[in-house]
């Protein structure tokens, strides 16, 4: 029975991170995490994962790619009017 409850809450973690869970359910989820260390760990691991995806990837195209893009567009767009 405990496993079913844990599974129920684990399935909500992703939506919870996106603020998609109703307030009453949020409170139940937060309560569960307080009393269930394995679920707390599962939740924290997911949170870290999402955080890493936000921070971990490089945001710039390499300079050569940027320059080639600009040249390409100048060549093709300036001949046309929007």
């Amino acid at each position: 029975m405990k496993d079913t409850k844990c599974e129920y809450f684990c399935r909500m973690f992703s939506d919870y991170l996106d603020g998609e869970i109703e307030r009453a359910e949020c409170e139940l989820l937060e309560e569960h995490i307080k009393i269930c260390p394995p679920c707390a760990l599962r939740y924290e691991s997911l949170k870290v994962t999402v955080n890493l995806c936000c921070k971990g990837l490089n945001a710039e195209a390499p300079r050569e790619v940027r320059e080639r893009l600009k040249s390409f567009l100048r060549e093709h767009c300036c001949k046309e009017k929007v």
Binding site: E20, C39, L46, T49, C53, G56, V65, E80, K81
Partner: protein, 204 residues
């Protein structure tokens, strides 16, 4: 992600009025993120560059018709996503399909609980090696799951915007996101758990 819908509207208006520099300002603003998204979808930097060029050219040509019904960024990313998908359907159609493995593995990735990820310091998780692992984990996802994760968690679009970009319901996006995030978590957990075995022998 900074909300700059009004700024974009001005750039678009000026471009349509004939100001090419305004278009270049838009290109400067979005090229990095669009390139990153395309590269994550096709896993090939040469091809990503071709699709990047094609995407901005499409945007330039379509800007007169772009009525501003959606935000410019959503519209642009939709063009990029569709161009990447068109390429993948021809070159690697198997990657575009919904993969049953992710469904089958999902239960175990949901259940996995080990402390290594949470206990590893952020500097290590974001070191060059750590970043490589994040990239690999994301790249291992089938494209339908990878694209929503990149759009939401890397590019910072809202669920509604992601749904518009990939042309799916918000419910479908949430479901794919849930599976994608757990699959990435699982890969990272495996990596850091394995590394733990060797970490204790390494002098600090």
């Amino acid at each position: 992600m900074i909300k700059s819908v009004d700024e974009d509207r001005q750039y678009v208006a000026r471009t349509v009025a004939g100001d090419y520099r305004a278009f270049e300002d838009l290109v400067d603003k979005y090229q990095g993120r669009v390139y990153r998204h395309i590269r994550k979808m096709v896993n090939d930097s040469g091809q990503a560059e071709d699709i990047l060029q094609e995407t901005f050219l499409n945007a330039y040509r379509g800007m007169g018709d772009f009525a501003g019904a959606s935000a410019f960024s959503t519209w642009l990313f939709r063009i990029a996503t569709n161009n990447a998908l068109m390429y993948l359907r021809k070159a690697r159609p198997e990657t575009v399909e919904f993969n049953d493995d992710i469904r089958n593995d999902h239960h175990s990735s949901l259940w996995a609980e080990s402390p290594e990820l949470v206990n590893t310091p952020l500097e290590k998780l974001l070191s060059m090696e750590g970043r490589k692992k994040i990239e690999e984990a994301i790249e291992s996802l089938p494209v339908p799951y990878r694209s929503v994760l990149v759009l939401r968690d890397v590019e910072g679009f809202s669920l509604q915007e992601v749904a518009e970009i990939v042309d799916a319901s918000v419910a479908a996006v949430k479901s794919r996101l849930h599976r994608a995030r757990n699959a990435v978590k699982d890969k990272l957990l495996d990596y850091y758990a394995d590394n733990e075995l060797y970490a204790s022998g390494v002098p600090s």
